[in-house]
Symmetry: C2
Subunit: 228 residues, 2 copies
């Protein structure tokens, strides 16, 4: 590993600083990020930004990737900090970590899970980081199944759905019965909905005690999944 040249290090620092300033702007101006404003804050001219990011969308992509990474880290770390056999504890820890990260970084959460930016198409390398949070949740179910602490639901699924889910389970190396995978995805859907409603201000005025609400709703889904 050769030491990076001075130029390379300065360049990396510039990229980091641009992203930091852009994140700050994201928090106030939302997804319509202005390259000129970022450049102004950095004391340079707008065209100079293009030396580091070929377009505004590329800067957005970099921010999105970083955000997925941070959210995935937070959820996985919270999950790993709990006794692996305590399935319900892991579930709540993972859910709370996702919510805490979203509340701490609302603009970045909106960038990840809000309405897609019109002309912008997320590149393929965002798919893997994007699937880390749901995979962490489903991993809890897989561990519970492996250790015998979680028994799969008995209901029958219609055939095409069962095949789809079996294929998903196979593609993600999760040996989960389709019905259980469906419940795990229901939990992930619910988690996303809870955070989005809270962040986008749909329940704030009527539910002052949001921590308790969140915990209760995630507990409901844990019941539905069958976590002991």
């Amino acid at each position: 590993m050769v030491a990076p040249s001075l130029r390379a290090r300065v360049r990396a620092g510039m990229i980091d600083e641009i992203k930091a300033v852009a994140r700050r702007h994201l928090a106030t101006d939302g997804a319509n990020l202005s390259l000129r404003a970022v450049a102004r804050d950095m004391g340079m001219v707008s065209s100079a930004i293009y030396r580091y990011f070929p377009s505004r969308d590329d800067l957005l992509t970099a921010l999105i990737l970083d955000a997925y990474q941070a959210l995935g880290d937070a959820v996985e770390a919270a999950d790993a900090a709990v006794d692996p056999v305590d399935l319900r504890g892991r579930w709540h820890a993972a859910c709370r970590a996702a919510r805490a990260w979203a509340l701490a970084h609302p603009a970045e959460y909106a960038l990840l899970y809000g309405s897609p930016v019109p002309g912008y198409a997320a590149p393929d390398d965002t798919v893997a980081p994007a699937s880390r949070p749901p995979l962490a949740l489903v991993g809890i179910l897989r561990d519970g199944l492996a250790s015998g602490r979680l028994r799969p639901p008995e209901e029958e699924l219609p055939e095409p759905l069962r095949d789809d889910l079996a294929e998903v389970a196979a593609a993600t190396d999760m040996a989960l019965p389709p019905a259980l995978l469906a419940r795990g995805m229901a939990g992930w859907t619910q988690l996303f909905g809870l955070i989005s409603f809270e962040l986008f201000g749909r329940i704030n005025r009527m539910l002052p005690h949001r921590d308790e609400y969140f915990d209760h709703q995630t507990a409901l889904l844990a019941d539905l999944i069958g976590l002991p």
Copy 2:
């Protein structure tokens, strides 16, 4: 009722046409709607639009109100078309109607339920139309409770949450026990999450049979709520 003057009728027609063109643009360009482009499509100059909508945000508000209205109509009509005592049938009908409307009007759905437009604050008169879909769902539970076909869950809620939910129930004239209201809101959250994931392309590549997936997931929540 005096007949509206010619000018008033022409003006109303203009407003409708502007909204129709704006909706068309919404479908392709998303929330960053261009007044100039709308004006261009109508063969007039951009400044003339301001005779009808004092700002771009006001045009957006008008579109949002119309969309809430349409979605509320769709959900309520679907609910009303089912035998009132068939709680599960009503639940599925309402959920399917919301999804169908969203799939038919993805851009408007994103306007309603996507990330909030940065500088834009929804005016107060959007609150009532916005609560129609969830109220339709909760209304199913209220009817089930009144007819004795639905028994409320027995779990205990933490006190602050119970009080919050009791207040919400009172404010909406829905005599629902807090635990049941919480489950109804879980259903609404799940419905929103399901539609959003499907519309924003998070499950499309892995689940080809989306109708079956949607029905199964809403059935899961119906089970959680306790619909017979």
